[in-house]
């Protein structure tokens, strides 16, 4: 009888743990997959030109990255009664967080078809171990490639950050 009681309590405790674990997994997976556009000043929906223009402290998030800038223009297409962003342009003070990397620049354009982000104007790419600066950065997300271009050799700078410098 005692054994049954303890085994019953154990099972109940296990069930509660599994329930909470499932709840958190579902909650966080849903929270992380949320896509959004936030704007501090205004957002203009132009249904004729199929675009959204956001102004003032813009934050854009999709399933790939989070981007911040002063202004954003996102073009979309209609597909199966749903609107999907195809091209996203970011203007001024652009910062893009992709996994453990941070891209910076004055202008960025993201194309959904090929999953490529192109940044121009005083660009930099920062990872936990190094910082690279140049004039143009092409980040190929699907193929995990980064191409950093510069106007001349002097403008291409590589900085090893503290973690790697110790090694």
């Amino acid at each position: 009888m005692v054994k049954l009681f303890f085994s019953g309590r154990l099972n109940l405790s296990l069930i509660i743990k599994i329930f909470y674990l499932s709840f958190f997994v579902i909650f966080f997976s849903t929270a992380n997959s949320e896509s959004y556009v936030k704007a501090g000043e205004s957002l203009i929906w132009d249904s004729e030109n199929q675009s959204y223009t956001a102004n003032g402290s813009v934050e854009f998030k999709n399933d790939k990255f989070v981007a911040f800038s002063d202004k954003m223009i996102a073009n979309y297409i209609k597909q199966n009664d749903e609107e999907i962003f195809t091209i996203v342009e970011l203007f001024e003070n652009v910062l893009i967080e992709f996994k453990d990397e941070i891209f910076r620049g004055n202008y960025a354009i993201y194309t959904r078809d090929d999953n490529i982000i192109k940044l121009t104007g005083n660009v930099s790419i920062e990872s936990p171990t190094r910082l690279l600066t140049g004039n143009e950065l092409i980040a190929d997300i699907d193929n995990n490639k980064r191409i950093l271009n510069s106007a001349n050799k002097e403008s291409l700078v590589e900085v090893l950050l503290e973690n790697n410098a110790d090694n």
């Binding site: 949320e34 896509s35 959004y36 556009v37 936030k38 704007a39 501090g40 000043e41 205004s42 957002l43 203009i44 929906w45 132009d46 249904s47 004729e48 030109n49 959204y52 956001a54 999709n62 399933d63 979309y76 209609k78 009664d81 749903e82 609107e83 999907i84 962003f85």
Partner: protein, 142 residues
Amino acid sequence: MTNIFNYKIINFLIILILGLQIFIYFYNQNSLTKNFSQKNITVENFSSIVLSKSGITKIGSEKLNKIDDNKIFLEGKSYLENKEYKIYGNNISINLNKEISSSEEPVKVINSMGTLNAKGFKNLDYDGKIIFFGEVEFVTNN
């Protein structure tokens, strides 16, 4: 002597009363004309449809105030719905002639891309543009 004095008082009172009647008559005439020219109409729990460039839009509110032939004011909880969007807000002004609707109060919009919340909006229907003001959050299905 007393009779003459009484007649004078009575005549004075009659003239005073006639004067008051003339004043009341003109005063009433003016206000009536003004009221008829404004044509204010108020309807509670109102819903209707409006034909505009974006097609048929269903509108509704707790209270409708018709300001003139072209302008209406949707007072209290109000909505605009058509095939492209659903706008839910408060105190929405509509200019039927210019095809513009606007509100300076929080608004929630649902369209085929997602759900948007803003502090106010101006819908330029003739131009196919909606401008959302203040802090805007647009949660998308992408």
